[in-house]
Symmetry: C2
Subunit: 331 residues, 2 copies
C-alpha cells in the first residue's frame, strides 16, 4: 500500500512546496488567501512567508485596497529566484531553453546533436556552459526520443552510448542538481495537459505522425501511461484491415480512414477526452474527416474531441513543467 502520508517530519517541505506553487498559480496572494487556499493556519503561513521573504524567494508587492479594515499585504513568488534548464535531444540538433519559475523562457539556443555525436560529454559541456552563465539554474529536464524508465534510457536505436544508460542519476551526480529525464511524446502530453490546466480525470492521447512511423503519448488519471516494456503508444502496430496495420494503412490505404480507425481503436479502449495532433501533421478540415471516419465505428457521443496543437510548444511546456516541479519541491 503506497504510503502517501505527510508525517510531521516532511511537513516543512510539504508546506513550503504548496506555498510556492499556490503563489505561482495565483500570481500573487495575501497571507489570508494562502491560508484559505491551502487550509494551513494563518500564523504558519506568516512564519514561512517571513522566512522566504528574508531569502528573497518571495516579494512584497504592496498593500491591497482596503475592504473595510486594515489593508492586507500582497505577496508574490520571485520568478527569478531560480532557473530551470530544459534540453531537447533530437536527431539533427540539440535545443535548449532556460526558463524562470514563472515558466518564462529567458534564453534558448541550438547546438550540435548529442545523439548523432553519440557522446554524453557534448551534453555535459552544454549544461556546464549554461551553468557558468546562469548560476541560479537549479533543475535539469532532458527530453529524449526513446523509451525511458525512471530516468534510465531503455531503448534508443542507433545511439549506442545512451542505450541502457541511467542518464538521470548520472546528471544528478555530475551536477548535483535534481534532474528529470522523459520521453519526448510523454513530455508533450504532459505539457499539453498541465498547460491547459486540465484535471486528473481528463485523459489525453497525443499523436505524432513522423517519418519514423506514428507514435503516441498517453495520459490517464493524471499520469503518463508507460506500459510494461515501455512500449505504450506504439500505435503504428494497431491491426486495422485484413492485411494492414495502422502504419501500413496510412501509406497504402485511404489516410483519413486509417486515422479514423486509429481514433476508433483508442476510443473503444480508452475513451479519452481529447486526441491531439500536431498542426504540422493534420489540418482542421482533415480533423473533421477523421471524426466522420471514426464515427462509423463508435457512436459520436463517445468520440473524443480532436485537437490540433503545437507539438514543439507542448514538448517545451512538458519539460518546463517537469523542471518546475523539481525547482519547487526539493525532495
Amino acid at each position: 500500500m503506497g504510503d502517501l502520508m505527510t508525517t510531521p517530519k516532511s511537513m516543512k517541505q510539504a508546506i513550503s512546496t504548496s506555498i510556492r506553487s499556490t503563489l505561482l498559480e495565483l500570481g500573487s496572494a495575501t497571507k489570508a488567501e494562502l491560508s484559505e487556499a491551502l487550509d494551513i493556519s494563518f500564523p504558519t503561513i506568516s512564519k514561512f512567508l517571513g522566512q522566504m521573504g528574508k531569502e528573497g524567494e518571495v516579494l512584497e508587492l504592496g498593500q491591497d485596497d482596503s475592504s473595510g479594515g486594515r489593508r492586507a499585504k500582497r505577496y508574490a513568488y520571485n520568478p527569478e529566484y531560480s532557473l530551470g534548464l530544459a534540453v531537447f535531444l533530437e536527431k539533427s540538433a540539440t535545443h535548449y531553453a532556460l526558463f524562470n519559475c514563472a515558466g518564462k523562457v529567458k534564453e534558448q539556443g541550438t547546438e550540435a546533436s548529442v545523439l548523432t555525436g553519440n557522446s554524453i560529454e557534448l551534453l555535459e559541456a552544454l549544461i556546464t556552459g549554461c551553468l557558468e552563465k546562469h548560476p541560479k539554474i537549479s533543475s535539469l529536464s532532458i527530453g529524449v526520443p526513446g523509451a525511458i524508465n525512471n530516468g534510465r534510457v531503455i531503448y534508443i536505436p542507433d545511439y549506442g552510448q545512451l542505450q541502457d544508460f541511467d542518464l538521470k542519476t548520472h546528471l544528478e551526480k555530475r551536477f548535483s542538481m535534481p534532474t528529470a529525464v522523459e520521453n519526448d511524446m510523454n513530455a508533450a502530453v504532459l505539457g499539453y495537459h498541465r498547460h491547459q490546466g486540465m484535471s486528473a480525470e481528463q485523459s489525453l492521447v497525443y499523436i505524432y505522425l513522423g517519418q519514423n512511423g506514428p507514435g503516441a503519448g498517453i495520459m490517464v488519471n493524471g499520469d503518463v501511461v508507460r506500459g510494461s516494456t515501455f512500449f505504450s503508444g506504439e500505435i503504428s502496430l494497431i491491426p486495422q484491415y485484413d492485411q494492414a496495420n495502422f502504419w501500413q494503412a496510412l501509406e497504402q490505404k485511404n489516410r483519413n480512414d486509417a486515422l479514423g480507425r486509429m481514433v476508433a481503436s483508442i476510443s473503444a479502449i480508452l475513451n479519452p477526452h481529447q486526441i491531439i495532433f500536431s498542426y504540422e501533421d493534420i489540418s482542421q478540415s482533415e480533423l473533421k474527416e477523421i471524426t466522420e471516419a471514426s464515427s462509423q465505428f463508435i457512436p459520436s457521443e463517445h468520440l473524443p474531441e480532436l485537437i490540433s496543437s503545437d507539438w514543439k510548444q507542448d514538448y517545451l511546456h512538458g519539460l518546463k513543467s517537469l523542471g518546475l516541479r523539481l525547482m519547487l519541491n526539493p525532495n
Copy 2:
C-alpha cells in the same frame, strides 16, 4: 493542483487507517514493527494501539520469543470488529456476500433480481435484512453491470429506475454507512489487481466475452480507467478487418485471430503487463493460439502475459476490497 497532504487535523485518521491496514497486511505485528513499517514513532503507535485495544479493535496475541532481551507483545487486528456487505446486482439474480475485515466470507446468498424487479426497494430490503442479522456491518459495496460515475448509475439499459440514479448517496443516506458503487468489470480488475498484490505500475486489462458482446475493465498506474463518457473498455467496437469490428469478427471470422488482433490493439496502445480472461470463456490452449496470433502484429517481448482467471472470484475480491477500504478508512 490536487492537494494530497496530511494536515495535523487529519493526522489521527491517517494514523489509525495506516495501523489498521498494516496490521491486516502483516497478519500480526509488534509495536516496534509497526513503528518501523509506518515510520511513526513508537510512543504514537503505543498510544493508538492502547486505545484500539480498549475498544476491542485490536487483540493481544501474547509475547514473542525473546531476541535477547525483554519479550515484545504481539498484536493483531480483530477481524470480527466490523463486517462488510457486498451486493452483486445481476440480470438473473442478486447475490450478496458478508465478509469480515480479514476478507473471509461469513455468509452468502441469492435473492430475486433487483434489476429485473426494477425496484430499489428490493435492494433496500435485502440490506435491511442483513443489517438486522448482523449489526456489525459497517460498509456497503454494490456491483452494477452498467456505467458508474462516482456512485451514480450513468447508463444501464432496460432498468429504468436505476438509470441516472445516485445510488451511492442514496444508500449512504438511507443506511448512514459508507458505500461504494462500482461497475462489474471495473470491480473485477480491481479485485484481481489487489488480490494478486500487484504494484501500481502493473497495468491490467480484464476481458469479458459475454453474450451481450465483449467488454473490458482496465487498470493503469493503480487506478481504474473510466473514460470521458464512461465508455472505456468497449472493445467490441475496435475496427479489425476491412469490414468488421471485434465483435463481428468474433462471430464471423476466425475467433482466435480476432482475439489476437484485439490483444495486439491493446498492446500497441497500452502495453499492459497482463490481459486476463475468464476461464469460462477461454481455455489454456486457446491462450497459446491467441498469443501466436497477436505476435503477428506485435514483437513478442512486448506482448502481455495472457492469464485465465475466475471472474466471479475476482469480482467478489473487488467488491470486498472496496468495502474493506471503507471499513478501515472512515472518512
